[in-house]
Amino acid sequence: MDEERMKESWRKSGAGDNGSLLDSALSPEILRGERKTALMRLADRYRRFYTIAFVFAGISLVWTTNPIFDESVRVPMSIFLVVYFLACGIMDWHLHNKVRDIDIYRMPTAEVIGRAMDCRKLHLQCVMVLMPFAIGFVGFMIWLFSKELPALVGVCLGALVGGVIGTMKFREFMCDYKALRRE
C-alpha cells in the first residue's frame, strides 16, 4: 500500500460521524463550561484524597485518648496513623499539582505524553509504597484484638472484604504497570 492509498484509507475512517459531533458541540454542557474533562476530574479527585488524608491525620491524634486500646499502644498507633495519612496526603497533593501543571494549550504533545506517563508511574509507585503499611496495620489490629473475639471477628471480616477488593485492585494495578512499562 503506497502512501497515498494509506492516507486515503485513513481519511475514509473518520467519515460519517460529524452529525453527532456537532450536536455535542452545541450542547449547553460544553458551551456553558459545565462539563469537566477527565484531566480536571483527576485533579479534583487527588484534591479530595489529600483533603481527606489530612483530615484523617488530624483525627488520628484522637486515638491517643481512645479507651478501646491499651495505653501502651495508643501513642505508637496514633503516631503510625498520623504519619501514614500525612504520607498519603502529601503524595496526593504532589500528584494533584503535577496533573494541574499539564497545560494542554501551550505544551508540545511529547511533553504532555511524558508528564502524563510520569504521573501514572508516580501514582502506581505511591500505591506500592503505601500498601505494605496498610497491610501491616491490619495485621497489627488482628494481634491487638486477638483476645477479644467480637472485635477480632470484626477486624477479620473487614480484612477479608478489604483483601478481596484489594487483590482485584492489585491485579488491575499490575496490568496497568506492565502496560506502562511497555509504553
Binding site: 494509506m6 459531533l21 477527565a38 494542554i104
Partner: protein, 205 residues
Amino acid sequence: MTITVDDRAWDGMGPVDWRAGWIGRLSGWVWRMLTAASGLTAERCREEARFIELVESHGETINRICRSFSYREGDFDDLRQDALVNIWRGLQSFRNESELRTWLYRVTLNTCVSTYRKRPKGEFVDVMSMGNVLPDRGDGMDDSEWLRTLVGELPEIDRAIIVMWLEDLSYDEIADVMGMKRNTVATRIRRTKDKLRTIIEKENI
C-alpha cells in the same frame, strides 16, 4: 454681554438641579451597563459561531484523532467531549499565536494523550517491535478500519506523529506540535510507515 458658567463640575448634561443630575448619572450608568452586556453578548455569539465553524470544518479530523486514541466506544465519546470542551475554552483566549489548524491538532492530541484509558484485557501488541505476531484482523474489516486498528496499537508518541502525517501535516508542523526536531520526526515517520506498510502487505498476500 457677560456669560457666567455655573461653579459645579460640568457633567456633560449642563448645570442642572442635583436631583435631575442624580437621575442622569443613574441612567447613564444603566445605559453603559446595557451597552457592555450587549457587547458581551455579541462577542459571545461571535465566539460560538467561530467554534461551530471550526467544528464543522475539522470535525472529521477530531473524530479520527479521538478514535485512534480510544479502545472502546465509551472512550471515544468521552475523548470527543473532552476535546470539544478544551477547544471551546481555548478558542476564547486564542490570539493567533500560531496557525489555527496546528493549534487544533495540538489541543486535540494533548487531550487524548493526557488522560489514561485502560486497554481491554488481552495481549498488548506493540506494532513497532512485533515480529510475526500480528493484531487480530477481524472478518470483514476493511482497509481503513484495519489501518486504524494498527495505528491504535502504536506507542503514543509514534501514534501522535503518524496520525498527523496521515492527516497531511508537513514535517515542520508535526515537529512544532510535538516539540521535537524535524529530523527526529522524519525518522520516526519513516520507521512507522515502513512497519505499517510491511504489516498491511503481509496481510494482503
